[in-house]
Symmetry: C2
């Protein structure tokens, strides 16, 4: 039996619509201007992968649909809230090719809207009335913050270890994937050992997802991503493909020195063509392929952990979503 | 039987110390610079009134001490987190006469630290393993954000209604007092009707507390508050005493026009002596005394609601804390 990514979304469409309705319902505020900004924000939100994983994890075991939909909406809003603050922290003007709130509102108003979305997401988590789900939810937020702190201290170091990188992307992405899968399994009524397997499924999938994001940042350009190729590098953020590429050049070599200057956020002092040429050299070096193979290992591990799911259709869908993390262009 | 404010703190000192230990334990992070900033921040934090109210509300009925201490630490950290973001939203450089994080860190780092404290506070709420406590906790955060949104839209209007003012200060202060008292009563095992009475006790006390804060802002100076008298007015924030004073001057009169210019945050275009003289006129007008009497009504209402508490010693202490809200100089 095999399902495609399209099947997964088709099968879950009714549930994803319920999630969407919950998200919209709690995103309405009494202040008209703010309300339309928040609704635009939650509506423009990507692929809804985190709710999808939570719904699938629950579906694999069974459980109370209403609490599952509530938790899935909470997870997506927590993700949205963290993006809002993330963009403020990075002072980003664009996300997914669209202006961020930073381009439209004062920093204070953006902080406040992020907090508002955090509050709404926490209320959804609380509404599951499941203390363990709430604890995982709060823990995921803690992991996200920890990942961002780690990013602030280590992301600009070319000599960061693989463990530093892993810790950072776990917080940035994998923590909430892990939490989503874990919450879903709990609400689905899985056994403790199965809950832990699903958590690991989510964690591995999230790691693969972020690693591929870091590859796409170098491989794809403005058309696919809404930002120029090598955007992370231009911002001074050192990702796994860059680490792999840099490891081939000893200190003091011109290539290494150029990379170090970029890591120190000196991009604005370097001619654009020089950075474009570096991005091309990284693309041709095999570093991207080597990075993809690291992601593929995480996907394999995710799939092994999904093997515990009793419902065969859902199990196949979880496998399919895992493959999707690697086989994508945006 | 009568207790003094000092008695209340003396009786609860051991429990407050447990709360302090919990707060410090969760405020330690892996990054040395950040860790010391966060510890400074949580240690410099005021009177611990919110944990005190939660502890008292629980003590009046009984209940599991450990969960009560955990929830009290969570409430105080939520308060601290909201102050951190508040100061960023207002771009305040000083609080309680000390430099805020804004004076020491980038806006991004401050947002992140606020989020980190939110995460820690949510984990404490979740650690009570009481779904209702978590729901109240999340709802309080929602109320705080709603109050701040209201502030953004209405605080600079001289013609705001008393209902606008009440809604704003409920979110700013009373919501978390209400939540603290409600969580305490729940964890203390109070009946549903007593839980609601205690919630109203907290709400009324919080309203009185904020109204008196707004009076102190005009009545006391740099020595007591660490900021000049009339600081709110200088920032363009219209509070109850100013509303009462302004209501005596019809539109178009010079006094009203001066107040309107201040409300529109034009303080920097007005000579300092002119604002000092206005603050003096407000002080002498009776508007402060009229405002204090509004606060006193809230205190009376708070006390009536505390009457349901079965333990006489705790009941007396709750009354005493309510009086403390009005009889203070900082």
């Amino acid at each position: 039996m095999h399902v495609t990514a399209q099947d997964v979304f088709a099968v879950l469409r009714p549930d994803l619509q319920l999630v969407e309705d919950r998200i919209e319902a709690v995103s309405r505020v009494d202040y008209p201007v703010v309300s339309s900004l928040v609704l635009d924000l939650v509506r423009s939100g990507g692929k809804r992968l985190r709710p999808l994983i939570l719904l699938l994890a629950a579906r694999g075991f069974g459980g109370d649909k209403d609490a599952v939909v509530t938790a899935a909406a909470g997870v997506e809003l927590l993700h949205t809230a963290s993006l809002v603050h993330d963009d403020t922290i990075d002072r980003a003007a664009l996300r997914r090719g669209k202006p961020t709130l930073n381009a439209q509102l004062s920093a204070g108003a953006v902080i406040l809207l992020g907090d508002y979305l955090f509050a709404q997401s926490a209320m959804l988590a609380a509404a599951t009335m499941n203390p363990r789900v709430v604890a995982i939810f709060a823990g995921s937020l803690g992991d996200i913050c920890d990942g961002q702190l780690h990013e602030m201290f280590y992301a600009h170091r070319l000599d960061q270890s693989r463990a530093d990188y892993d810790k950072r992307i776990f917080g940035k992405t994998a923590a909430l994937f892990a939490g989503a899968a874990e919450m879903g399994a709990i609400l689905g009524g899985a056994s403790e050992s199965d809950v832990q397997s699903l958590r690991q499924y989510g964690a591995d999938l999230g790691m693969a997802f972020q690693i591929i994001d870091d590859v796409l940042d170098l491989r794809e350009g403005t058309q696919q991503l809404g930002k120029p190729a090598g955007n992370d590098l231009r911002q001074g953020t050192v990702t796994l493909p860059v680490m792999i590429y840099a490891s081939r050049f000893p200190e003091g070599t011109p290539e290494r020195t150029l990379l170090e200057r970029l890591a120190l956020s000196e991009a604005e002092n370097i001619p654009g063509e020089e950075i474009d040429a570096l991005v091309d050299r990284i693309r041709l070096s095999g570093a991207l392929e080597e990075t993809v193979s690291v992601a593929a290992e995480f996907v394999d591990s995710a799939k092994r952990h999904a093997d515990v799911v009793p419902d065969p259709e859902t199990r196949a869908m979880l496998m399919d979503v895992a493959d999707l993390a690697v086989n994508r262009h945006s």
